[in-house]
């Protein structure tokens, strides 16, 4: 087989979006952009390619594992897997400093997905509210996220809300160090995901902290003694060079971590309790208050619950509480969240993946080298929103183009004039460019979902009118060219 004649196909996980769906998506994207624009958000474009290091700095393991990353001329690059990190970088590099700065964006993102037949390129449409903290800013992010799905016309949706700030404070109050706390936060998703549980998380943490459920067994303690004893002996025997000193230091840190085991177990138990108290926001808040009191952890934690209550009160008008599930042990794959975080889901889609998600990330801009700046945002996956909308109702195939057909070659100039006039009226008009019989033109018009065909021949030109062929019922009528702007066309619906 010759190399040239080979049929080249698209890559696995990459989709061609054919015109009908592309039209629907473009329309939806424009709706969302309009929704954010009307709330004062300005467009921002960021590159598809970024340094891997930037994208990985605050990403969780699950994202890192799926990053499209490759080496190019000695540098590690990656296709953006989401927008927020790039937007934060652009905010710093662009010297933006408005308090707040409202930005919106739309474009493709890439995530490698090992599942067969699952897409690897998505379109995200989202916004970031940078430079504002507190319940009013959080409420704006929540209600705008709700407006995203509601404005798209989706009927059945809900939003799950959590708060990583609360989780961090509670784990800190329990005495967990930063590493232990991050590991638990990274595993929150596993605590809540169907089919997984506290036991699953315990297994994931076991390599670092040993068994968490039971008090540290005597054998395990003895094992630790043995390691440190061996290490001390080895260190005695070796010359005390720098490298060996580092190993000793690392060993000391590792043994110290093992002592966190009991605390990690307590932290996990608390998170499990909070997860089980999830539900309608005001009820869940009351339950959480009781849990914190029972653990003697009110104080800083209670202040956050008060803030959350204010947020929900502010948002209540645009975000009905019955749509919200507050789960204070809720987590996402991304590690940069520091406060409220949330995901929007549609029960009409078969899988559990969200339509979109967002939250507060007050540390990210500083972590990327900018000034300490509070920020929050949300992004929706257009493909999923479109799928959810389609699953709720059958969309009729659109019929909204007009077509102008010159009946003979002498009629082309008049036909072009007519097309230009219709376009000026804001109509979508196709010009017949193939020389063929009228029947063939009409067959094409039917396939191409043209709503009305405008025919111009010698009679029409002489009489100063145009013949309209309505494709929906195959009837014809004449309209005087002078009345073109005023007449009401039956069967024609505007696509815009």
């Amino acid at each position: 087989m010759s190399a040239e004649s080979r049929k080249l196909t698209r890559l696995k996980g990459m989709a061609d979006v054919l015109p009908e769906e592309a039209e629907r998506r473009a329309h939806l994207a424009a709706q969302l952009a309009g929704c954010y624009a009307r709330a004062g958000y300005l467009p921002l474009e960021t590159p598809l390619l970024e340094r891997s290091e930037l994208l990985l700095r605050r990403a969780g393991d699950q994202l890192a594992e799926r990053l499209y990353s490759f080496e190019h001329r000695g540098r590690q690059l990656a296709l953006r897997p989401e927008f927020t990190t790039g937007v934060a970088r652009a905010y710093i590099e662009g010297g933006m400093s408005g308090t707040p700065t409202r930005l919106r964006y739309s474009g493709p993102v890439f995530l490698e997905n090992s599942g067969r037949g699952r897409p690897r390129q998505f379109t995200q449409v989202g916004f970031e509210l940078i430079g504002a903290a507190g319940p009013r800013a959080d409420a704006e992010a929540l209600t705008l996220a709700a407006a995203t799905v509601g404005g798209g016309g989706l009927r059945d949706w809900n939003i799950e809300v959590g708060h990583l700030g609360l989780v961090s404070i509670l784990l800190d109050q329990l005495g967990l160090d930063h590493q232990a706390s991050s590991l638990l936060v990274a595993n929150l998703e596993n605590l809540n995901r169907p089919g997984r549980s506290r036991l699953y998380v315990e297994e994931r943490l076991a390599p670092f902290y040993g068994p968490l459920s039971d008090p540290p067994a005597l054998e395990a303690e003895a094992g630790r003694e043995r390691i440190s004893g061996e290490a001390a002996l080895a260190l005695f025997a070796s010359s005390n060079d720098g490298a060996q000193g580092e190993v000793y230091e690392r060993l000391r840190i590792k043994l110290g971590r093992r002592q966190q085991s009991g605390l990690v177990g307590r932290g996990l138990a608390l998170l499990d309790e909070l997860s089980k108290a999830a539900g309608e926001p005001f009820a869940a808040l009351a339950a959480a208050r009781a849990i914190l009191r029972a653990h003697g952890l009110d104080g800083r934690g209670s202040a956050i619950l008060d803030e959350l209550e204010r947020t929900f009160n502010i948002a209540a008008g645009d975000l009905p509480p019955e749509r919200v599930r507050l789960n204070l042990a809720f987590g996402r794959g991304l590690l940069y969240y520091t406060g409220i975080l949330f995901e929007v889901r549609s029960p009409s889609l078969p899988d559990d993946a969200p339509l979109g998600g967002g939250g507060r990330y007050d540390d990210l801009i500083a972590a990327l080298g900018g000034p300490p700046t509070p920020a929050c945002g949300f992004a929706c996956t257009l493909e999923r929103l479109s799928a959810a909308l389609t699953s709720e109702r059958e969309l009729p195939p659109p019929r909204y183009h007009l077509m102008v057909v010159p009946l003979g070659s002498d009629d082309v100039a008049a036909a072009l004039q007519l097309a230009a006039r219709l376009r000026q009226m804001g109509k979508r008009v196709e010009m017949e460019v193939v020389e063929r019989k009228l029947d063939a033109s009409l067959r094409y018009a039917d396939r191409a979902r043209i709503s009305t065909v405008f025919m111009i021949g010698p009679d029409e030109r002489a009489g100063g009118y145009v013949t309209l062929h309505d494709m929906s019922n195959r009837t014809e009528r004449r309209i005087a060219l002078t009345r073109l702007e005023t007449v009401d066309w039956v069967g024609e619906t505007d696509g815009e």
Binding site: M1, S2, A3, R6, L11, K12, L56, A59, D61, A64, E65, S69, Q76, S114, Q179, A186, R204, P207, F208, I227, E230, A231, A234, S238, A243, Q244, E246, V247, E249, R250, L251, I253, K254, R257
Partner: protein, 351 residues
Amino acid sequence: MVNDKQTIRIALASKGELEQPTLDFLAKCGLAVSKTNPRQYIATIPALPGVEVIFQRPPDIVTLVREGDADLGITGYDLVAEAIGLLDEDIEPGELREDGDLLVLHEALGYGKCALVLAVPEQWLDVETTADLIGVAAYTREKHARSLRIATKYPSLVRAFLYRKGLTSFNTVAASGALEAAPTTGIADLIADISASGTTLRENRLRVLPDGTVVKAQAVLIGNKRNLRQHEAALAAACTMLELIEAYQKARQYTTLTANLAAESAAAAAAAISGLPDCGGLLGPTVSSVYQQAGGSTWYTASIVIESSKLVAAVQQLRSVGSHSITAAPVGYLFGESSPLVERLLARVKK
């Protein structure tokens, strides 16, 4: 290199550890390679007319087959796994491994066994498992303001493996020479390399992590899906190879036993043998008469195919019913009623 429609091309290892074992293996499967062509990198397989053998470096074989410049190839699974970026845990046992046009037709040819393993300097007493590397990476970032560096020729697999284990803060360092020296020379902190026994690693004062096996590998037969789909003769050659390889591999587990015994009738001889626990054979014994030179009792010859692992037990059982002169011969090929690997391939290619 462009393949025309007449020749079917199979790429075999031209050098290194796979070269001779591949030729030996194919010969045992009845697919001996004949190097009569004066051009040293081209040969034929007389049992597969129309098939041309080209000798290539094992990593190039993956590329040639993936691009369709060779229809089939035998190379190391480690190289294939790196090309398709697939960890063992992502595959169900028996599931056909593939990526784009690259198909693994047979994933266990039974030789060239090795593993891609993570190895750390011996003196790293704080590292017992791969999870401990997370602590080392955090320490390295804090103390030296850089990522942990891992020297490897298999960056995709190593990245996927370590991400899965929760380690994300590291860089892979491409190295082509002897990787074992990388930690000593300071090019990298640890390595991920192919090892058959671990000896070389130990000699270089490196320690293999017990849970650090990234991929277990051996020689595999690969093919180009598009070519097999469009080129009937190539698909037929692939099926013939699979049939013979499968029959050879299966045959190695079996032995043919032939024994003489005295009995009143052929049926009685068969019944005596069928009653023995390890002598049932695949279906039952084949019994035929022995025409003795002198008179006496009637003798029969029975032959059965048994599992090789039960050879001695079967011989003892045959003796216990009065068998004489028992011979055992290896089975050359054992063909079942169908070939699961051929069926798997056809199902995939014809989909």
